[in-house]
């Protein structure tokens, strides 16, 4: 568990958070592995865990009728997968598939949610960090939407 300690404490997401809280998160963390082509989470399932990717690539996908699944983005080493555990209805909005073999740290989102409700200072700190992640993803998504490499006639 020592490695887990260090990884979590040093990850940008956790820096600046109360030590006691970080320790709590570590106690709810576990190493997980996903084989290539398996699904880490599925759209519609309850969202109670989030992941800190340590190795491998994850594809965030949308299942569309009459289409093959559409990859909207990929996440890799050091990135956090999943924020829907934080806000109601606590349900995944996309599929996430391991593109190669993925190693990650699973963190207890349900536990963290409860703590945030009880301690709003903590809640604010956590929300701030996730807001930043969401903002970066939103900006990147908008850029993708622009289809800048397409030929306009």
């Amino acid at each position: 568990m020592e490695t887990l300690d260090r990884i979590i404490a040093e990850h940008p997401f956790f820096i600046g958070l109360d030590d006691g809280f970080t320790n709590l998160m570590v106690s709810c963390a576990s190493n997980v592995r996903f084989k290539a082509a398996t699904y880490i989470l599925r759209e519609g399932d309850p969202a109670n865990t989030f992941y800190l990717i340590r190795d491998g690539k994850v594809a965030v996908e949308v299942m569309a009728p009459q289409h093959k699944p559409i990859i909207v983005s990929t996440l890799s080493v050091g990135e956090i997968l999943g924020w829907s555990w934080l806000l109601p209805p606590f349900q995944w909005k996309f599929h996430a598939r391991a593109v190669d073999d993925v190693r990650a740290i699973a963190l207890d989102g349900k536990c963290l949610r409860t703590k945030c409700e009880q301690n709003h200072d903590l809640g604010y700190e956590v929300l701030k960090r996730f807001a930043q992640i969401i903002e970066q993803r939103l900006e990147a998504t908008r850029l993708q939407l622009l289809d800048v490499y397409a030929v306009r006639r």
Binding site: I71, S73, V77, V99, A140, L146, V148, Y149, V151
Partner: protein, 282 residues
């Protein structure tokens, strides 16, 4: 004020070259290798420069030179077919003639980058004017630090120079990261805009010089990302594009604020143009 230069070949007259090879990079992009009809002509250029390519009776286009600057017997161009003139250019066959004027413009800062890490950020066809930089750095490896190549394309089939991307990555102290806006089930690489690659790169901002080329929107976001990561505005270079007719600063078409892209550019230091990039309809 600069002194009028006496050029050895008249910059206004196309020199006859012939197509020696045509390679298809993507469904709409082709790489042409041209060699001069008159073998005496040396074809040298600085990475980042462009030529005006003339198709007999059709028209003339500014195209960045995308070949190896160490080879002086040829000029290589990667052209995307987007309209009538580019269409006729990419449909040239081996042996067909193409008129070449140039090379023109201010190129990439290879001298200023000596001893430093070089970050090449390319979007779409923007990798073409940057390929000469990659060749130069890899051939003069000890003159440069780390080489980081970040390349974004529309989709997997739109990626150029695929074999070279693989061989480049095998060089020491060289990192190549590729992403696409639209992936597919068979694509096992990154999906997302090129700015998302930064976090996976081994960047050392203080030691780095960045060279960026791609659609203007992409360059705006990339420079912002580079600045956020600690690069100085003097160490970020962009290649700009505007309408060009003469390439020698007389027709006035390529003006970008006070700059003539054909002679003050196309490569600019970010510091020089940062207050122009944000202006709509400049």
């Amino acid at each position: 004020m600069t002194v009028a230069t006496a050029v050895t070949t008249d910059p206004m007259l196309p020199q006859p070259y012939a197509v020696r090879e045509v390679a298809k990079e993507t469904p709409d992009t082709f790489t042409l290798r041209l060699e001069p009809e008159n073998a005496v002509n040396r074809s040298s250029f600085q990475p980042g420069q462009f030529s005006m390519l003339w198709v007999f009776g059709v028209g003339e286009l500014p195209i960045s030179i995308s070949g190896d600057p160490a080879l002086h017997d040829r000029l290589v161009y990667t052209v995307r077919s987007v309209g009538q003139a580019t269409h006729s250019l990419v449909n040239r066959g081996v042996g067909d003639g193409v008129g070449v004027r140039g090379p023109f413009g201010a190129g990439w800062p290879l001298e200023a980058a000596r001893g430093r890490d070089v970050i090449v950020v390319a979007g779409g066809i923007g990798l073409a004017p940057l390929r000469p930089v990659i060749y130069h750095v890899l051939q003069n490896r000890k003159d440069y630090g780390r080489l980081v190549i970040l390349y974004g394309g529309r989709s997997p089939r739109d990626l150029m120079y695929r074999k070279e991307l693989v061989t480049w990555a095998r060089n020491p102290e060289t990192q190549v990261l590729v992403t696409v806006d639209y992936g597919g089930l068979n694509w096992r690489g990154h999906v997302g805009v090129v700015t998302t690659l930064f976090k996976y790169s081994r960047l050392q901002p203080a030691r780095s010089v960045a060279m960026v080329c791609g659609p203007e929107i992409m360059m705006r976001f990339v420079t912002r990302e580079l600045e956020t990561r600690g690069l100085s505005r003097d160490d970020i270079y962009l290649s700009m594009e505007r309408n060009m007719k003469c390439a020698v600063g007389f027709c006035g078409h390529c003006q970008y604020g006070p700059h003539f892209i054909c002679k003050d550019g196309p490569v600019f230091r970010y510091e020089q143009i940062l207050n122009l990039l944000e202006k709509y309809e400049l």
